[in-house]
Amino acid sequence: MHPINFNKLAAPTPSRREFLIGAAATAGVFVLGAYIPFPKRAFAQENSGMAKGIYDPNVFLKIGTDNTVTLLSKHFDMGQGAPTGLATLVAEELEADWSSMRIEFAPNNAKLYNNLAFGPVMGTGGSTSTTEAWEQMRQVGAAARMMFVTAAAKQWQVPAADITVRKGVLRHAASGKTATFGELADAAMRVPVPTDVPLKDPKAWTLIGTKLPRLDSLDKTTGKAVYALDIRRPGMLTAVIKHPELFGARVASFDPTETMKIVGVVDVVQIPTGVAVLAKDTWSAIRGRNMLKVTWETSQAETRSTTDIFDEYRALAGKPGVQALRRGDATAGLKHAVKTVEAEFTMPYLTHAPMEPLNATLELRSDGAEMWSGCQLKTLDEATLANILELKPEQIKIHTLYGGGSFGRRGSFSQPGNPVGDWIIELAEIVKTIKGRAPVHLLWTREDDIKGGFYRPMALHKVTAGIDAKGHIAGWQHATVSKSIIMGTAFEPMAVKDGVDATAVEGIADTPYAINALSVDWHNVKTPVPVLWMRSVGHSHTAFVMETILDDLAHLAKKDPLNFRLDLLAQQPRDAAVVKLAAEKSGWTYALPNGHGRGLAYHRSFNTRVAMVAEVSVKGKAITVDRIVAAVDCGIAVNPDVIEAQIQGAIGFTLSAVLRNQITLNKGVVEQNNFYDYEPTRMPEMPKVEVHIVKSAERPTGIGEPGVPPVAPSIGNAIFAATGKRLRHLPLTL
């Protein structure tokens, strides 16, 4: 195995946040690749004199003689509807008819389809899709429209300025000549790509900002949508892997005798992270694994229990950590405090548990390898496969399919050599071990998924905060302990600065609240339990702490939690507006009956602002979330219906983590198994949800993740309002 330096993949790019401001300026030189989507295109090089920053529609669009416009989407869909959003941007400028728009997921090619927020990496994640492609996709549409107009002008011998385009039809009013995109596609693709591509005035938009239907609804309601799990290759074998119970354990020996007796089982092979059973069908592979005997070498394994790990975290939190922020002097400030709150918060490991279990299919050929997969980070997967299979990255072809949920899990960047297996690496190891004699479909069963690690890091926060005589925040000392997600990965150059993993302290160190004496310390920890970003990453735990403490302080100051927050956001009008909107729509000032409570939380993440007001009712120890009113400012709402869906969904996704989900270790062994002991939210628990979107003329920002952070604290604050009990440990239990 060759150790790979993933850092080479990530060019020195601006940080996520810097990017969001400068995307247009950093939009790189276009390189016309070998991939020529237009049919029978033999003259690609004619367009090589591209102007800097202008994208060739030929790379992103296929326009058929049947008038369909297919976007080769650089972003795939794992539920958030990003490709529908990108297609909207293209169609807006192209003047295409929405019903003619189609989506295909682009092939892996980091030069052509790089995420402008990530550097030369093709990947979907970090709530970046719409915002990173905001100019690019509109440029692609506009350039293509200009090419059609030029082609029509030439064919009809009329001035280009006299041609109009509407719903996929070009028209010259004076002569009455018309043509469809399909009729002119062949001529249009011969037109040089324009160098000056003006975009529409927002007032002229007809698609952006409207409720367009998702382009994947039909396939996903008829069973036709193809996920990685649905791929069938001739001669394909299905593999499942016996993993150790302990993170960091390794195979000592195994006995395949009983497994090989199962009809359908073809082979049993050892890979670095376990033992794989290969069979002709899934059921036989699972049965074979049940019969497999493996002994493990556990000297390097994690053998502690959750309580032991939290004890370590607690001890660390009492010591000085890496300084993530010093704003003013928190220690001096706290000396002037008249009332203080000192509190510890704990947040458990969580697992993403996407509905489609992790899986992919890999086929080794004499000239390279092909993978069928629904993964977020194509370029990293490409590098992983090339590394293990000893091929060049350009010999790896990845077919991207719909992802059956992800929430970050399909954006794994585990590296070969990690003692804990991840599925793409394991798939490559299996194929390598059997010398590629058959295509292999690797499936992680639900138990593999729940027990397999790559969790949202468990975290402990210790906060001391106080108010002065006027009820203002006097000082806030914040220490947090969690394992770094980013260090040692391809994303390190983007998100690690001065020894601090930005994802460990995001939501605290960059808080929009005017807390003038704030210190933030972070402690990294070592454990073989692998961690990974989960929907909203660090914000998934930091928002709970920030918003709970703010509620504490408002209570100490005898101020309304709404006004207390608005005072702290006086210099942040967009943030304040969102908080006000959620409060107003929730009926904040109206009293609730006994046993009911209303809680407010606000959080900014991925440059999107979300406030929520939760209403709960408490009977004995039972907590019911009755209603959540959300307000969101994510800039221009490209598709308000998709935005509403993402907020609704983020609430459904997060609710079970607030009320019951946790991954716990007992002497190193994960105690949870499947949905019966890691149970996602179900229909009867789903509260009423109302989503209000702030009208905005600002650049669109993320929406896949920002709905998550306010959910837990709004519910916790509502429980406090209902019961007077302050809950500081997730999941929340009375």
Binding site: D641, R682, M683
Partner: protein, 151 residues
């Protein structure tokens, strides 16, 4: 050989009668619209109709359903199925979409026995189907919408 009557066609399968129906549908008959989510009848992603009943195909065996009438998402037809799938599309219920075959199969069963379900009845009828994307608000709306169409 076991005979399975799937989506109106009888097919002979040379499989172990203990094989869960899910894997026979997916791996043997290549009907991949029915999904694997948990394998232990907890999530409903694998829901199909057997003699009109909504069942979890991951735990019922091929032997148990031999000769009975099986309908998968690919074989849906009729007024209720049309109303449900149209409502799902109209309201853009789907996100990742992976659980939706199962959700739709359960919703069709619910609306077949109950033409106008209340919210409580929807909770009871759909409580066995997990959607990790949290599309429940829209599933509920879509069931009400389909009920209107069928009224």
């Amino acid at each position: 050989m076991i005979t399975l009557k799937v989506n109106g066609t009888s097919q002979e399968l040379d499989v172990n009668p203990d094989m869960p129906l899910l894997w026979a549908l997916r791996d043997t008959l290549n009907l991949t619209g029915t999904k694997f989510g948990c394998g232990v009848a907890q999530c409903g992603a694998c829901t199909v109709h057997v003699d009109g009943q909504a069942v979890r195909s991951c735990t019922i065996t091929v032997g148990q359903v031999a000769g009975r009438t099986i309908t998968t998402i690919e074989g849906l037809s009729g007024k209720v199925a049309d109303a449900v799938t149209k409502a799902w599309q109209q309201l853009d219920v789907v996100q990742c979409g992976y659980c939706q075959s199962g959700q739709i199969m359960s919703a069709i069963k619910l609306l077949t026995i109950n033409k106008k379900p209340t919210n409580k009845e929807i909770d009871a009828g759909m409580g066995g189907n997990i959607c990790r994307c949290g599309t429940y608000v829209r599933i509920r709306q879509a069931i009400h919408e389909a009920a209107k169409t069928l009224a």
